[in-house]
């Protein structure tokens, strides 16, 4: 059974069909790309899958569980985490605390444990700190851990967002334009980080990207969206050479 099953997902804003009849199956451990021209509805798909918008039609399941209609909070807890196209960090908190917020739901000490500093508080905070540092190391951010998030350079902010999403221990990770604003070297590094995450965290990743070198370099399969509908779908190399896709990107 595929990890993510999306069937005929669609949403209307007023009369406009922002996304229409979107279906996809993503197998566990896959790196899947979602591409298409600006305004094709890619981020809207992410917003549907994370519960920010409620779909007008269709269903989606993660590991067989129906998730459509659930709130963003429930969806995150059931195993989908995401990053945002316009970075949304907890910018006045430290880098470390950003990741620790991600770990929030994997700790069990309650408000009273926190206020009265019970042994459970110390035990879990210690475990949390170690786990957060481990995650930051993956993204080469451990030296920045006491820095405020807004002080980080752009590329590191993007990485921190991925780290925070991973900290929620999702089954499926959605990355919205992870390489936006990065130079070729940074993109190259990001590609290896994404692969590393997939291999070492046993992660399934769905990503939106405009950088075709990144998509061609790491995605096994892609879907092309155009005007909210699916234009092409399949093995990355085949789809990227499809004349219809080239036309959609470059025009007639």
């Amino acid at each position: 059974m595929p990890l993510l099953q999306v069937k005929n997902l669609g949403i209307n804003f007023g009369g406009l069909k922002a996304v229409d009849d979107f279906s996809v199956n993503i197998e566990k451990g896959m790196l899947y790309g979602l591409i298409g021209p600006n305004g094709a509805g890619k981020t809207t798909v992410f917003n549907l899958l994370t519960g920010v918008y409620k779909p007008s039609t269709g269903t989606f399941r993660l590991d067989g569980q129906i998730l459509n209609g659930k709130s963003p909070i429930e969806i995150n807890r059931m195993g989908i985490a995401r990053t945002f196209q316009n970075i949304r960090l907890f910018s006045h908190m430290s880098v470390m605390d950003n990741v620790k917020v991600g770990l929030h739901n994997h700790q069990t000490y309650n408000v009273f444990d926190g206020i009265f500093r019970t042994p459970k508080y110390y035990r879990e905070e210690k475990a949390m700190n170690e786990e957060a540092v481990e995650l930051l190391k993956v993204f080469d951010l451990e030296k920045e851990k006491d820095n405020r998030a807004y002080n980080l350079p752009y590329g590191k902010q993007r990485k921190l967002e991925i780290a925070r999403a991973l900290a929620t221990k999702p089954k499926l990770l959605l990355l919205d334009e992870p390489a936006a604003g990065m130079n070729p070297n940074e993109t190259e590094e990001l590609m290896s980080t994404i692969r590393f995450v997939r291999d070492n965290f046993d992660m399934t990743i769905l990503l939106i990207e405009h950088d075709m070198r990144l998509v061609g370099g790491i995605c096994e399969e892609v879907t092309v969206l155009n005007f909210g509908t699916e234009l092409a779908k399949g093995k990355t190399s085949e789809v990227l050479n499809d004349p219809r896709v080239i036309t959609a990107y470059l025009g007639e």
């Binding site: 981020t43 917003n47 920010v52 945002f84």
Partner: protein, 292 residues
């Protein structure tokens, strides 16, 4: 029945004043996306100006009105330039606290200059009222209602027909895009504050003609209630502010007569909470969604 009609008229009278103040709130909120907490205190400044010009120096009524409007207008624009403009990109919390600071500044300045005692302001309106089917209609009511109607018509025409009015609509829709289209955002915001504050001056004059006393805190309660009116009508919407103001005035005077004078304010605030909870965009407001 007679009492009901008179209370209805009182409500309309009070409601017109709220509507004029609410227009200032709603225009500023629509364009600068901020709650100008000090807006109510502009009324107080207008009332004190009236006290000095009319009662102390004995200027003719038209000169008093002109002086009030000019002073409030200059004050409103200066507040925006000094206190709010540097905060355009700051968090709403910062802007709101600043606005509260400005409101307090105006109140405590008035307290220092004029003292805490309320002072009598002579009404500018000398027209005699008349009785119609046993209902007393005061001169104040006649003038308040007609002035409000005229201002509403002029303001609607201004927004719809003039270049500046259209610029205001554009800025309230999308500041960035308006700027790219060559709209001068700074002067549009200044114009908004100028109009809002002038309307507050007029509201202050009308309020004084009915209530007659001014103190340092005179503006804050009508100010807050006018904000309630603006929210009730749908903040950012000009017809909404008019509707909300009139409705609130009627509700308040009915509550005072038929329920309890002490609880009238509580009822007004209760309405605000209910409206915000069940229809946060007000009666005529548009829904806004944050882009993710």
């Amino acid at each position: 029945m007679q009492q009901l009609c008179e209370q209805l008229l009182n409500g309309l009278n009070l409601g017109s004043v709220y509507a004029l103040i609410a227009l200032g709130y709603t225009m500023v909120y629509g364009i600068a996306k901020m709650l100008n907490f000090a807006h109510g205190d502009i009324i107080m400044v207008g009332a004190y100006t009236l006290l000095l010009s009319g009662s102390r120096f004995g200027l003719p009524w038209w000169a008093s009105v002109l002086l009030c409007t000019v002073i409030c207008c200059v004050l409103g624009v200066s507040i925006e330039k000094i206190a709010y403009k540097p905060l355009r990109s700051s968090s709403p919390l910062t802007v709101l606290i600043t606005a509260i600071g400005v409101s307090y500044f105006l109140q405590s300045s008035a307290l220092l200059i004029f003292g805490s005692n309320k002072q009598k302001v002579d009404s500018l309106i000398k027209i005699k009222g008349f009785t119609f089917y046993g209902i007393n209609i005061s001169g104040e009511s006649i003038v308040t209602l007609s002035v409000t109607i005229i201002i509403m018509i002029l303001l609607t025409l201004f927004i719809k027909k003039t270049k500046m009015g259209k610029a205001m609509l554009a800025v309230s829709e999308d500041k960035g895009a308006a700027q790219l289209m060559g709209v001068n955002v700074n002067s549009t915001i200044s114009a908004t504050f100028a109009i809002g504050s002038s309307l507050a001056a007029v509201a202050g004059i009308l309020y004084m003609s009915s209530y007659g006393f001014v103190g340092p805190y005179t503006g804050s309660l009508p100010g807050i209630k006018a904000f309630v009116a603006a929210v009730l009508g749908g903040i950012g919407s000009i017809p909404g502010a008019m509707l909300g103001g009139i409705l609130l005035g009627i509700i308040e005077s009915m509550a005072k007569t038929y329920i309890s004078t002490d609880l009238a304010d509580a009822i007004v605030f209760g309405i605000l909470i209910v409206v915000l909870l069940f229809r946060p965009t007000g009666l005529l407001g548009k829904k806004r969604m944050e882009k993710v």
